[in-house]
Symmetry: C2
Subunit: 320 residues, 2 copies
Amino acid sequence: MKATARAHTNIALIKYWGKADAKLRLPLMSSLSMTLDAFYSDTTIERAEENSEFYLNGQKQSGQAAQRVFNYLTLLQEKFDLHDPLSVHSINHVPTAAGLASSSSAFAALAAAFCKFYQLEVTPKELSRLARLGSGSASRSVFGGFAIWQKGTDDESSYAYAIDETPKMDLHLLAVELNQQPKKLSSTQGMKDAQSSPFFTPWIKRNDAELKEMVKAIEANNFTSLGELAELNANEMHAINLTAQPGFTYFEPNTIKAIKLVHELRKQGIECYYTIDAGPNVKILTPLKNVKDIEKNFESQFNNVKIVNASFGPGISYLD
Amino acid sequence: MKATARAHTNIALIKYWGKADAKLRLPLMSSLSMTLDAFYSDTTIERAEENSEFYLNGQKQSGQAAQRVFNYLTLLQEKFDLHDPLSVHSINHVPTAAGLASSSSAFAALAAAFCKFYQLEVTPKELSRLARLGSGSASRSVFGGFAIWQKGTDDESSYAYAIDETPKMDLHLLAVELNQQPKKLSSTQGMKDAQSSPFFTPWIKRNDAELKEMVKAIEANNFTSLGELAELNANEMHAINLTAQPGFTYFEPNTIKAIKLVHELRKQGIECYYTIDAGPNVKILTPLKNVKDIEKNFESQFNNVKIVNASFGPGISYLD
């Protein structure tokens, strides 16, 4: 008896950047994401002989990475009064080269494989809540296309749902890796520190309006509105960090260079927008027709840049 | 008959970044500055034979730079019902290498030389108002040490005054030139665009409190508070720009590198803070004992960096 689930990573266009409850992973704001076809995690769960074990890309893990998985499995088991030692095999199809975090797909796949393994009958909403307990952004990877993670007020009400699982929008995301150095500041720490910014509260107050505007752009199939708002929201997140007390930034010199290149491309009529998460790399939003031009421009301006072209990915699927 | 005045440049620690009235140069916020000893303008006014003329560093000027000076002189003459063609000779002791704007010292010296030439009896407050009409920041260069430009509500009430013309604080400003490329976005345009940021209004609302806190730091001779608040205020200004619609930035890749170096120096116990104006260069605030260490660090991390060490400068003086 084993169960395998696949979940795709997602990139937030309206960011999650602040915890209301660290243990329950309740956020201070609702977020909205695009699930990507190019990056995913496959996770298999079966009963272990003695002790739980975790293999990532074929390598047995120990230390923090394994402990986070075991803690999460224990948390899930306690919810359902289950007690077996489990063996987890996970393959991350999220190349480091993409400069993406894999925790959204990893914990969504883990939650789904867990439910499948125990034949728990959970709705997508319930699965999203369970995934959230592993990693906040994993709540959104239960769904394909565009998804909203509504912040909610407790464990029951904080979950993601799909807006449109098969969007018509001509939208590609280029994951551009500018910098291979590991980030020095974790997301968890950055989120905490960001709350000391005088602009944090004004930002939170805008969350509902930004979310509504983004949903409107999606419903109207309006790439320009979506891109402008995604870029603004990312800038807001990084402006919050810069104005924390003391200020900090995930930007590296090349991040500024990339931002200016996006501005320059737009001036030339190549419509594209950027979003940036808790790291130095940028993700470019653009319609298919501009992908090659943008790749060429980045490749000519940066040494050893790595670019992965992604579009909409599906929600959770099961492989056996 | 001729008159020569000297005015020193100033750097805002609480920034002026928004106009309430472009013609009268009334600001949307009050600002606070440090006048610098290392950079100044000497300006001589005498009667011209036929047409007004403007010489900068010995070179006769034409075009925009000259026109701005002539327009300003006409404005001043109209106020006092004067009509002579004037010859203006200005020497800017503000090396381009410092990455500083010279308009604060230039228009303060010009206003002072004008009043001296015509033997107009103006108070420092009145001189500050006249200087403001040439360039907003020039209002502060009438005074030495620390000065506040109170925003006011009209031409009468918008002027600068000294907080402390001979401060006891052990405070140096290192003007660090990272980038010799001319900036692509003027301050005037940047100020306009910045107002589309969702954080602009929240920032303006903080102006009174920030000003009070900065005055308290100065009165208490508290370098740490002054530095932290100056850095926060500069970060706020650049966060506003980043979140304008569309966002823009005066930062260049080296600006990010410099910001991270300041963070790193602080971690090592070398206390210093940065402020950044409408350009890519940084100014470092630090006590005298750290100046050499900071210079050494910047020189080893940047190619062809130019650093000028400044401390408190005096207000207007007259040279003949």
